[in-house]
Amino acid sequence: MPMARIPGNRRKRAPVFTVLAVAWAVLGCAPGLETLPPPATQDLPRRVEIADVPFFPQEDYQCGPASLAIALTHGGVAVRPRDLVGEVYSPARKGSLAISMLASARRRGLLAFPLSRLDRVMRELAGGTPAIVLQRLGPPWARRWHFAVLIGYDLERQEMILRSGRTRRLVMPFDEFAATWAPGQNWALVVLPPSRLPESAEERTFVAAVFGLERARQFPAAVTGYETALSRWPRSLGAMVGLGNSHYAVGDLAAAVAAFERATVAHPTSAVAFNNLAHVLAEMGRRDEAVPIARKAVALGGPFAALSKTTLREIERGR
């Protein structure tokens, strides 16, 4: 697509205006918004700052591409903000939607793991992963949405540390950060190589994040992600089926069979595992093995009963 011309970015700016902008962000905050629940932070390091997070001042392009470039580069995919404009920017909205940021990270083979609790975000920071956050800044008469990157915090001084806009190291008090973060439903995103588990990962959320890679057709990355999931949750049905489907998508049928077989052993009542296994076996020409497995899938029924029946019929007919 043509590069979007982003209006109004080429002005000369004086540092005093940065100060003014930050001051307005403070003024714009609704007072009394919740800070951190103290028990959740007890086992966290008191002070964290990931100093090696790169910085792309948002100059010619908007905050979305700049923040994402910072996170992707730190996650191991070196990009510049301008490489990302076409993937995250929405010209008619003159900004970037959070879902486009998520999609863009996946399209580049990195795991996009959304978070919405500050203690979890802090846990990621403590584990060395910066987090993109969506904030609402500006005075009440000129509210703006803004993406920035959290790189650290200080529990003693009650401060968050960010890469934001043209400021390489912006320190923001907890209260102020919480007030600017809440209007966007506390949206935060960490971007990781699929071989790494986020600190606060749970089976369901992590496997769902890996599935995002599969959706984005980043199959080798999805395979890595599902294997990461299985090393932590060895019985995860989602990870086994996903692993089989991702292997199948790149034509590695033997590996797909292995994954689905593992799923049928660990979850002998999963019709999905049996159906997919039968399908791949038949495709490999192993019809005699496929038939009883397809029958088993039909016998198990469930929401995909019709599909299992068709699989069985086609295998028996020998296609």
Binding site: L20, Q62, P91, L102
Partner: protein
């Protein structure tokens, strides 16, 4: 003949729905792998029991995706780019943004530049006020 673009969306939805409905009828679903998504859904939808409702569910998901793509295109994206962005989302994520894409926040704050713009605006407003006050003071006749 000119057709207003706003007419396109409902028509395209109708066509998609009609084609989709047709596919519900005699042809059996082709044998296929079940997508990973189906084992990730935390709770099976209550009416996903029969093959028809499973198919209806699938259609709903397709239509939601199409609507999200349309919405992104109306934000000035090409068809390919809108498709690539929506394709990279799971069904659960598409459901979360369904019908809200035009209202979802778009991060655009430009820190210093926006600050500069606001500051310039205030200076202009204060300046105009000052001039008005001075003019007004001039217009009011002096007692002396």
């Amino acid at each position: 003949m000119l057709i207003r673009p706003s007419v396109f969306k409902p028509i395209s939805r109708f066509v998609i729905l009609a084609v989709a409905m047709l596919s519900l009828y005699p042809a059996p679903a082709p044998a296929a792998m079940v997508e990973t998504d189906s084992v990730l859904r935390s709770e099976p939808s209550p009416d996903a029991a029969g093959p028809v409702s499973a198919e209806r569910e699938r259609l709903k998901r397709l239509l939601r995706r199409q609507a999200a793509r349309d919405a992104l295109r109306s934000h000035g994206l090409s068809a390919e780019e809108a498709t690539a962005r929506i394709d990279a989302l799971s069904d659960a994520e598409v459901r979360r943004i369904a019908g809200r894409l035009d209202r979802l926040p778009a991060g655009a704050f430009h820190g210093a530049a926006d600050g500069a713009r606001s500051a310039a605006l205030i200076i202009v407003v204060v300046g105009i006020l000052l001039i008005l006050v001075l003019l007004f003071a001039k217009l009011v006749p002096d007692d002396s």
